[in-house]
Amino acid sequence: MNAPQPSIRGVSIDVRGVTKRYKSARGEPIQALELVDLDIAPGEFISIVGPSGCGKSTLMMLVSGLIPVSSGEIRVDGKPIFGAVKQAGIVFQRDVLLDWRSVLDNVMLPVEIKKLDPKTHLVKARQLLASVGLAGFEDKYPGELSGGMRQRASICRALVQNPGLLLMDEPFGALDALTREQMNVDLQRIWMQERNTVVFITHSIEEAVLLADRVVVMSARPGRIADVLEIDMPRPRGSHSRSDPAFLHHVEKIRRHFMALGILSEA
């Protein structure tokens, strides 16, 4: 029913000289991010890889506007952000489904809160759930789902509102390898239809390369951008792309990056 929209829905993001300091529980400052610069084009798919604790989640939270920067500036659609970015759909590292709502009601939460039209979005919510293999689970409670199913439901929740910006923090970390591969394919298909801007955090180098237009490689402590790789492989990509020489080349390059940074070491 929804004709595939050729126009790009995504917003642009400019991250300029952004740093972030946290205060530890003891009051000492923790430098989580140091001078990050990143420009993301509308409708672009960006993957971020980096060692644990390098500030990937922090960067995503800053872009979402949910936590303030310590210095620097972030612009969404050219405008500096104040408070939460309303165009953002977020999938957190932990799936945060509301236990007391059915799966469908969880997915409809943004529609409810933003007071969007319930009828059309109900159709969309059901379509999304079906597209990630959750047809028939609409009326179940999250407590009745497996970890992977919960995460898929929370992805549907982020997508239901046609967000101009999709922020995903290791969304597939809890999934088994098979489901994960399928989810990669599904996410790419949805993105190619909707053309939202995607910031996709992952631990998997292969996943990052498979999905992204550009892969941002981060180094640890304090977190900064070590490299940005252009992935110019044809879409749609899928299992077949994994044996593509370009794919292997990019994966190998990122791996060498991590070795050079001392994060990965040869046996």
């Binding site: 949910l66 309303k86 945060v96 509301l98 939460l109 809160i113």
Partner: protein, 272 residues
Amino acid sequence: MADVLQQTLPDERTSRSRAWFSQNLPVIAIVIALFLGWELAVRLLNVAEYVLPAPSVIIAKMVSSWELLLVNAWATTLEILLGFGMSVFIGIPLAVLVVYSRVFERVAFPLMVSLQTIPKVALAPILVMWLGYGIMPKVMVAFLISFFPIVINAVIGMRSAEKEMIYLAQSMGASELTTFLKIRLPKALPSIFGGLKVGIGQAVVGATVGEFIAAEKGLGYLQLISQVRLDTPLLFAAVVMLSLIGVTLFNIIAWLERVCLPWSRLRTETDS
């Protein structure tokens, strides 16, 4: 026999009540054995009725004095419900204030927690002095004693929402009120119900103790009278009535919880 039952009554409710029965069979058996032992011991050892009446004597007493028991049970129930109701209607909004207001969090809550250590029962004589012999002092004791578990559990519950849940609501542009209604409150409900379940038991204690101090009716008052008259069976009958009130009120809340939070049963069902 079991097969016959299953064939003739395949209805889900019967099978569920049968499951309940078989699950609780040990408890039921122990209770029955206990009462039988009690009955036998009293009869065989010839224990005087004013020391320990047999269960059968207590039941007979309850039947013969049912009107007296009911009138006083109603008086006590009213005190319990008023005191408990006050706790809920003051306690829950107070918990909201503690969660949302710096002043209440920093000043009122710690104060409340330290006041919590005062034995509320010891305040009963003072309350009687202030409020007289009517229903009020009992309601106040029931209120004071059931108030703390309700407030504290509600506060803990409302603070239990994960950071990400709040972020999620904020990213959707939810107002503070929407975040409260759609996230904090439902998230707190299991904990709130936990507090209510503790509180209702405490309210029964509070009302009874209030009646011990000074009263003209109620089961606690009835106990005092029976004690003076050495009417031990009536004393026991009053205890039975009190337990019945407590168990009934507790189960009403437990039932409400099941109706309001069908999803929270999932957690407990998995470990059975």
